[in-house]
């Protein structure tokens, strides 16, 4: 038991990472040979693994279908950070202004009392306080022109305010990028802004590419972009109508060269594909055998008959074989 305790003192075990660490380990003498070194390392390794196993099996386990399951405690070793610490973002324009002026932030309530309707409403969002659409009457002032619509004017003003705010937000982000402190979700989303470190230039779209894309977009309606109103100065689509281009029906004088080319191409392809079928192997084999037989017969007959008799025989034999070969192409004959 003492020995074990001693062992545990020397070996630090982190069960969360299933790790065993021996702080006081040192090789008594570094073995010269690599094989010896490996053996000693393995030995020490087995000791450590044994230590882990001992502690592991002492933990309370629950029974499961596949065997006992043990809940490991959380790890104790602290690992270094994977990513760098977030840089502090630079103060926005408003923050700078507020600091200078000494304006402090005030805690705002979510529900505010609405004077107009006399109820408690949200400060922002659906059904909010001071909403533009709730205003029933706007009194005219002396400065108002007769034809103006005050409600529309209010809407436009709000739009302008929103746009201004968006512009400011983007400016603040750009400042943050300069320092390198862009918030991570914006960093991931931003493809135009370069990632810290790289100076990748924004991809320039050429005029042709833009034209192609615009054309594709224009024709990707249900009716192929035929009935869309064209903007002033917009050129007609390069690919009007169908994408299939057919050969001309009748071409000038004589057969059109294009059509002839096409048919020839197709024909030659087809014929070459089936060219292996032109030769009838069986027939060629039988012909060859017959020829050989006749030759052998003639050879035998040489010793018994005169040479003059052979010649006509040979000629007749040659003729028949020639006929056979020409017949092969258009075979019109009875079965044997």
């Amino acid at each position: 038991m003492e020995l074990q305790e001693q062992k545990y003192q020397m070996v630090q075990i982190d069960l969360g990472n299933l790790m065993a660490y021996d702080r006081h380990h040192h090789f008594p003498s570094v073995p010269s040979e690599r094989g010896e070194l490996v053996k000693e390392c393995l030995q020490k390794g087995t000791e450590l693994v044994q230590a882990i196993a001992d502690v592991l099996f002492n933990l309370p386990s629950t029974e499961d279908r596949d065997g006992p399951i043990v809940q490991l405690p959380p790890p104790t070793t602290r690992l270094p950070r994977e990513k760098h610490l977030p840089k502090p973002k630079p103060p926005t324009k408003w923050e700078l202004f507020a600091q200078k002026k000494g304006i402090k932030k005030r805690k705002k309530d979510k529900i505010v009392y609405d004077e107009q309707t006399g109820t408690w409403k949200r400060r922002y969002g659906y059904d909010r306080v001071n909403d533009d659409k709730d205003v029933p009457i706007i009194e005219t002032k002396m400065t108002d022109e007769p034809g103006e619509d005050p409600f529309a004017k209010r809407k436009e003003e709000k739009k302008k305010r929103v746009e201004k705010q968006e512009k400011n937000r983007l400016q603040n982000l750009k400042q943050a990028v300069k320092v390198g402190a862009l918030p991570s979700h914006v960093q991931l989303a931003a493809t135009a802004l370069p990632i810290t470190g790289t100076q990748s230039a924004p991809k320039k779209v050429t005029k042709d590419e833009l034209g192609n894309v615009a054309g594709m977009a224009a024709t990707s309606t249900a009716s192929g972009g035929k009935f869309d109103k064209k903007l002033p100065g917009e050129k007609p689509a390069k690919h009007p109508g169908k994408y299939r281009k057919f050969l001309p029906v009748v071409e000038g004088t004589g057969m059109g060269s294009q059509e002839k080319q096409q048919t020839d191409k197709v024909l030659s392809k087809l014929l070459s594909k089936h060219s292996h079928e032109i030769l009838d192997v069986n027939k060629a084999v039988t012909m060859f055998n017959v020829k050989k037989e006749k030759k052998r017969k003639n050879q035998q007959g040489k010793f018994s008959s005169t040479s003059s008799k052979l010649k006509p025989k040979k000629a007749a034999h040659k003729k028949s074989s020639k006929k056979g070969f020409s017949k092969k192409g258009s075979s019109k004959g009875q079965t044997k």
Binding site: V249, T263, S330, S331
Partner: protein, 187 residues
């Protein structure tokens, strides 16, 4: 009316090749003697409303004067394209095939009528068959008096035909001249 696309030409030629073999060249490049032009134009293929027509060039030139919707037919119709895009030969190309056929089958007089009604050719009705016909080849069916009756696909090769029992199918029917009466409206 328009000339055939490359894909369509391949489809048509493939089907014709099954029947004619290398004689396909004769069909495609034969010179016509129609019209009053001095230089004989060739025959060509034109597509009109999913039907493929084999027509001489002189005729094509004149046919361009007719409105596209009003043009019903020109030259000889050799087949049509189905809605699915595949090409089928119709009976009207029989003359063209009969002249250039590579494999022929002659029927006995007793089974002529059966074939003309649309039935397949049984071994019992087979009179003659060209040598080295392989299964799946296109064959043109003739009567004993060398009148073309129709065409079809060989179900068995020549060797296998000999071993077949008399009720086995040797030629699968594809088209016959009886169709002119039976399917008058479709053609």
């Amino acid at each position: 009316m328009r000339p055939l696309d490359e894909k369509e030409t391949t489809a048509v030629f493939e089907k014709l090749f099954k029947f004619t073999g290398n004689n396909l060249k004769n069909i495609v490049e034969s010179s016509s003697h129609e019209g009053v032009d001095e230089n004989a134009g060739c025959y060509c293929f034109r597509l009109q409303k999913n039907k493929v027509y084999y027509v001489s060039e002189a005729l094509v030139k004149r046919a361009t004067n007719i409105e596209r919707d009003k043009l019903v037919s020109l030259g000889t119709c050799i087949g049509k394209f189905t809605k699915g895009g595949s090409f089928h030969l119709t009976i009207q190309c029989l003359n063209l095939l009969a002249v250039n056929a590579k494999h022929k089958v002659w029927l006995k007089p007793t089974s002529e009528m059966s074939f003309l009604y649309g039935n397949h050719v049984l071994k019992g009705g087979l009179g003659r068959i060209t040598e080295n016909t392989t299964a799946g080849d296109g064959v043109v069916v003739f009567s004993m008096s060398d009148v073309p009756l129709g065409f079809g696909i060989a179900a068995k090769s020549t060797q296998d035909c000999r071993k077949l029992d008399p009720n086995g199918i040797v030629v699968l029917h594809q088209a016959d001249i009886g169709e002119y009466l039976r399917m008058e409206d479709d053609l």
